[in-house]
Amino acid sequence: MKGKPEKLIVKGKRLDGRKLDELRPVKIEVGVLKRADGSCYLEIGKNKVMAAVYGPREVHPRHVQEATRAIVRYRYNMASFSVEDRKRPGPDRRSVEISKVSRESFEPMVIKECFPKAAVDIFVEILQADAGTRTAGINAASLALADAGIPMRGLVSSCAAGKVDGQIILDPMKEEDNYGEADMPIAMVAPDNITLLQMDGHFTKDEFKQAFELAKKGCAQIYEMQRQALIAKYGAEGKR
């Protein structure tokens, strides 16, 4: 890793030319895998992630099934080649925690009562990582769930806000995450349901408020892109 750049924000512009409240470019494609019941490929900046949904399907091992509703499982996994220094394959403590909070970001939205005793399995593979992989994974998983036809109360949209050089920014990239002062990923479902909220670093209460409101705006923009991606795949409302 190169050393810290002297400044991460120059004249209101970030290292990649973005404004403080600007997302990285997003590319979304829904229904890209044949075998999965639902799938989505998503890029945001240099992040490349693939999500697949299998289910509702039979639960193995059987003792974890629930009599009145489906269980939701979520596996976040980073490819060993997705980061600069090779990551040892398999789950580490970080990915176990991310899998847990990501699953919980969907639990209130998936209408689990529709499928008693079944499982809805969500698999997210990070193919290339550049900060913001958990949020990218959630955005892709949300569309993969829709693609699989799993009934949901809404689309989960996710985005982070951070602090670099003392300023609040939207959607930190790798350099900003490494050398920044705070990072806060959130996930929400319109209009105002926060389903994921994590933060580390240093925020005064005012900075928290500013970052929280900015992250929500970012989620709203992501939501619009998710909607467009579904329309691109399945046609506008009312049409098939």
Binding site: V96, V101, D200, G201
Partner: protein, 260 residues
């Protein structure tokens, strides 16, 4: 799953109570259980603390020993936090490798210590690239009666405040107190039936769909947050939780976290 069943009747009862701003153990919504902290109780450890929050009991031991730095941070010491939910602490805990609950607990405690800057890792360097102090924070839950995160976080900072660098053992001079630069305090708020309450007891913790842990520094800035659970919060609830937790964190820091 069978391990976290609170009878439906009890659940309804707790929700009904919440509607009237009451709680199952008689506390007010913003009332923390009694806290007690004892430090320096494990003499073999460089620092230790036993924390009780109500009937919840957590023992945190800090071991400090020289070791090799990570190659990407040759001039920095190392902090490693681990948590074990041992079967002694609850009928629902099983032996075996840590599961996601224990991993999340350890990572949130670690986040508070690390992100608050409580320990200045640069000051733990003994010889750049060769030898640094490694600080192992091990959380042992002894009795799980709810709100393990706050108890473990409190135990971790209390044990660090109590810790010494064991110079003598390694022929590096006299033992000195470990420098602690900030005193992070974690406060967990649970949502039940639209009401927010601090320090959920075991039963509240089992039925609440959503918990939010907020870690505050000495300067009242937020050093870390973690939403946990299968529910959701409104923005208003998030702001309200922060205010509740901020107030409690100051009280706890003032009353319990002094250098020992």
């Amino acid at each position: 799953m069978s391990d976290n069943i609170v009878a439906e009747i009890k659940k309804e009862y707790i929700y009904d109570l919440a509607k009237r701003d009451e709680r199952v153990d008689g506390r007010a919504l913003d009332q923390y259980r009694n806290i007690s902290i004892e430090t320096g109780i494990i003499s073999k450890a460089e620092g230790s603390a036993r924390v009780q929050i109500g009937d919840t009991q957590v023992l945190v031991g800090v071991k400090i020993q020289p070791g090799e730095p990570f190659s990407d941070t040759p001039d920095k010491g190392v902090i490693i936090t681990n948590a074990e939910l041992i079967p002694l602490a609850s009928p629902t805990f099983e032996s075996g490798p840590p599961r996601e609950g224990a991993i999340e607990l350890a990572r949130v405690v670690d986040r508070g210590i690390r992100e608050s800057g409580a320990i200045d890792l640069a000051k733990l360097c003994i010889e750049e690239g060769v030898k640094v102090w490694m600080v192992f924070i091990d959380v042992h839950v002894l009795d799980h009666d709810g709100n393990l995160i706050d108890a473990a976080a409190l135990g971790a900072i209390a044990a660090l405040l109590n810790a010494k660098l064991p110079n003598e053992r390694y022929d590096m001079g006299k033992d000195v107190q470990l420098l602690v630069e900030d005193v992070p305090v974690a406060v967990t708020v649970a949502e039940i039936g639209g009401k927010l309450l601090v320090d959920p007891c075991l039963e509240e913790g089992q039925i609440t769909p959503t918990k939010l842990t907020i870690i505050f520094n000495k300067d009242d800035a937020v050093a870390g947050m973690q939403k946990s659970g299968t529910g959701m919060l409104t923005s208003e609830q998030v702001y309200q939780a922060i205010e509740m937790a901020s107030k409690k964190s100051k009280e706890i820091r003032k009353k319990f976290l002094k250098r020992s």
